[in-house]
Symmetry: D2
Subunit: 347 residues, 4 copies
């Protein structure tokens, strides 16, 4: 059958009529709905910490942690203004807690991760145990666990927050509630979870009840030492350097069901191969100085900078005179659980 001009009018009239019945024609939307390759609305972007820090400290003069509940500046992808998202499924922000402050205790469906950027001595409490935080430490607050923060130390503390807020909203499954107390009671000594679950041992009667790791604090000292030892071996990945994933030692799977978290070591003077994968990824620079080329655009980075690589965009690293350590997170565990994940090494 042809498509004569009057058929277009007939079609438009038809579309109007069926629209009143809550229906639309697939054939007019096929390429948008079933694209040949991913068409992300996200764009690459980098936030220089030196530029961001003043704004963060200024927030400390404008609002208290108690009023804000969480004093966080959301890093929003310029390709999705108004979304409060850094990729379609992920949220990222920089949180500041000043000396003496407390961020009240609550719990919610959304899982959160923290990568400490600056400062030392503040704590995160999860399910009755406190973990003191240091720069480079990786902390998780699993879905539906009571959590709160406090800063009994003398210096401001800043960390990068990563949450699956957009994902939980997409699946319409978000719940939240406040703890009756501002700070949950401490019921286990610091280091208990690591000893109980993270030392290549498990209690004989342990039965896993939730998706996330019961080890909720991954100190940078331990991870850095592991990376250091690995750097003694010869083989370094041509794209990633040594890239490791934080795991749930009770399953060997990712530390959180909805967000994969990674740490990678790149040697000085590295000129990496390009790589891409379907999980848009947020990177936080812990150590080192270099550049990342994302889909042809070059972004120079230094310590404490944050950048986002959208889904399926090729990227490669070039580093300078020191070892570089990058933290990163993405929704890879979700894509892998759903058999949707792809990656590609580009020679």
């Amino acid at each position: 059958m042809n498509q004569p001009v009057d058929n277009r009018a007939a079609r438009d009239d038809y579309y109007r009529r069926i629209g009143t019945q809550g229906m639309t024609p697939l054939w007019e939307a096929m390429s948008a709905l079933v694209p040949e390759t991913p068409r992300t609305p996200c764009v690459p972007h980098l936030w220089h910490y030196d530029a961001v820090r003043p704004a963060l400290m200024e927030s400390g003069t404008l609002i208290t942690a108690r009023e804000a509940v969480r004093r966080v500046l959301i890093l929003e992808n310029p390709g999705m203004p108004g979304s409060s998202s850094i990729t379609q499924s992920l949220y990222a922000g920089l949180q500041l807690i000043l000396p003496g402050e407390v961020a009240p205790s609550h719990r919610h469906t959304q899982t959160a991760l923290r990568l400490i950027v600056e400062g030392e001595g503040a704590y995160t409490a999860v399910d009755g145990e406190r973990a003191t935080m240091h720069a480079g430490d990786f902390i998780i607050t699993p879905s539906w666990t009571w959590h709160d923060h406090g800063n009994p130390a003398e210096v401001p503390v800043v960390w990068l927050d990563g949450l699956d807020i957009p994902l939980v909203r997409f699946f319409d499954c978000g719940f939240a509630e406040n703890h009756p107390a501002e700070s949950q009671p401490v019921t286990r000594p610091e280091g208990d979870a690591q000893a109980r679950y993270g030392a290549n041992l498990l209690p004989v009667d342990f039965r896993s009840t939730r998706g996330a790791s019961p080890v909720f604090a991954y100190p940078y000292a331990r991870s850095r030492e592991a990376l250091h030892r690995l750097s003694k071996g010869q083989e370094v990945d041509a794209a990633h350097g040594h890239r490791m994933q934080f795991i749930n030692p009770t399953t060997g799977g990712p530390a959180m069901p909805t967000m994969g978290a990674f740490v990678q070591w790149i040697p000085a003077g590295f000129s990496g191969n390009a790589y891409r994968s379907t999980d848009g990824t947020v990177f936080q620079v812990i150590e080192g100085r270099g550049a990342v080329e994302i889909a042809g655009r070059r972004f120079d980075f230094g310590p404490r900078d944050t950048f986002v690589v959208p889904s399926w965009m090729p990227y490669r690293f070039v580093t300078q005179g020191d070892e570089t350590v990058l933290f990163s997170f993405s929704d890879r565990p979700v894509q892998q659980a759903l058999h949707l994940w792809r990656e590609e090494r580009i020679a």
Copy 2:
């Protein structure tokens, strides 16, 4: 710290300045981002097949299956106009294939399910095997498998399509390609997959390579017989009747990683308890007549009607003089894999 009036002006000025750096304040968006309970944009809705059928048949006069690629009227949730979605994560549509037509072969990341509504004798081909479709049959075309349809019979055939199109778009991981041939070659006889994987047997060397069930056709005759036998037992669920999930017999898990599919039998004269869960669900009536009350609104239904129950809205069934059989699908497997799913029985 107080919040004097000039602090509001100071805050607004601050928000404008940080906005230029790609940042926004969390504390102004907290309740929207981290709600106490799910706040779905979806609304309940029902499409009467008797009202929809004429529009569907009319599409057959306006466009060929070949030009359309897939001649489908998308059922769009009135709460999300322009989204082509029936819930936030799911797509549903009614597809028509006329006698003699072929829907060309392609493959894509998105998984599809079909529930045959009307007609008989058309086929779906998946990975080299054809399955002849009958009313009530449930067919899957797993992610990235070549699939096409044809109608060598004398009557129009209509089915309900369900796809994870919005989910795949959300995770920016969609790929698609066309088969070189309009119809893929047939390499296995009809019924091969069922014999090889669905008879409570598996080949000794079988190793699971993908997420979805290798059994891709679930004939209504078999499912109806199973439901019939179950109806002989005494215990019927006070909310669901007998509700069963289609499984992947090589894992015991859901037939598809991204969409759960269900079939339930409800006795005549049933007055069910209310129930709700976080997975918004699309229902297709196969047999029977009755009503569903969704968040207090009553929708009368009959055979071939389609309705959607949004996330976390309570619903209950009331049936009339015949046994009722409903097919349904939702994103439950995703929520369960991510430890996000909740349900509640309301006495």
Copy 3:
């Protein structure tokens, strides 16, 4: 150090002394404890049903089912006299139940399988449901489930029993108890388990609680039909024909945790390649006539014959004028769960 003659005497004296302390020298036993390849005590053997049947029927005149509890002639591997075992880990026997008899209800840690050899109309009851048995049917009575048998029909019924009795004894974990009633009450109609678990559907609230399949009856009619359909496809394994494993559809794994059960179809005039694996296997001929060569020895078989192939002995099949169907069982699931299993195709 050399080993002078007086060192042998010194060693012998040493061995005597340490023997009183409950110690023995490993170096004198190394090759027996850690052999280069498996050194099974089992030998190949075949029991012709025509020769065995008279003895079986004679047992019916010597003892009642009630007194015997189970009237079974144990098939004992001639390489392990007095062991009541057919391979090191498995037990096999032929059980006879006469018209009107009942084998009382009990439960035990040991899992049992049944392959019906002769007769029809007797039943096996498992957990409140009865399954009527026909020749070729495969039935399981999972660990610790109440089970009993009865024969309300007019003809004697004979089946092959397979149990993990030696395995359970080896691990010192066997428990057993009698049901208060001779026959357990019937609480579910016949066919309920198949409808509930075996139709590629599962109840929405189903949570797996045990290792074995909840489908406990695998009728020969269904399996034979599946094999028939597979025989229409071209590719037949050069050693096995079409070999399938009975599965637990709630996991995709073997029907029982301790015993794998298989059924294979071999075309007429088959001259198979040699094959061996570490799981010693018991075969029961359901249909057909041919021969099996085990480690060079030829055994002719016909319908209803039973034969055993020890671990790691190569075997091959040669069949005659009809299609052949063989049932078999082994401890393969255990070896695979423990990462111990090996197989080898010998060209």
Copy 4:
């Protein structure tokens, strides 16, 4: 039917006749084959290290490590003389390596574990990496991995060997071969496996290929520190103290598929509740002094002693003035994988 005296003669004659056909009557063996509770041939036993050590050192004068291949005194359960087994499924022995010696490299299906009893500075090599051993360290040599030992230090080193030798022989699946070199080449630096797999991180491309943990060395320093931290918490198990299992961090499951390994800390002055389980267990005392009552028999123990608790025998601990640390191993992972395991706390 009665059982007149001539029926006994008839039965005996029958048994003789069917015996020639490789058959025996189940009804004469029922209670032995299907017992009401486990009837283990094992007995409790304790080896005092002070009594054993002289014999071990004497072996060093009688045979070289090279001639012996492994210079080990097997601890044989007095209830199973000639079996080389300590429980039905497990083997245990004490191995001595003198300064300068090498135990040649080989691999075999059997998995081995080592618990260092005395000395320091010897190494175990697994798959190209060496681990220096210290008292209390727990080392595994997984199935089919190349392994060898050497003692470049100045002192004799002694460890407890645990192997699944009887289990592998029971399943007729044992293979073994010698490495072409006496000591396998070192391809990875010491500590590589721990850094790569044991630091709550895994390489991004890691795919598990075998059953056992890739972390093969579990230093006592780490485990002791974890136990120390746990002892700060309040709740101590009334039977076990704090009992932990060594895990495979890539799965959260046991370190080895066939043998569970445990370490437990018991406070000073502990008077424990009785407990029993179906896995016969071998204990090695690392620290502390006390007694274990096994089925009513009391065995006093001190550091370096070894004792065995048979399956299903109740046992309880009573400790004296110092903290006690016990290592133990059993076949629990096998029983649990097969859904056979039971435990019971006896108030």
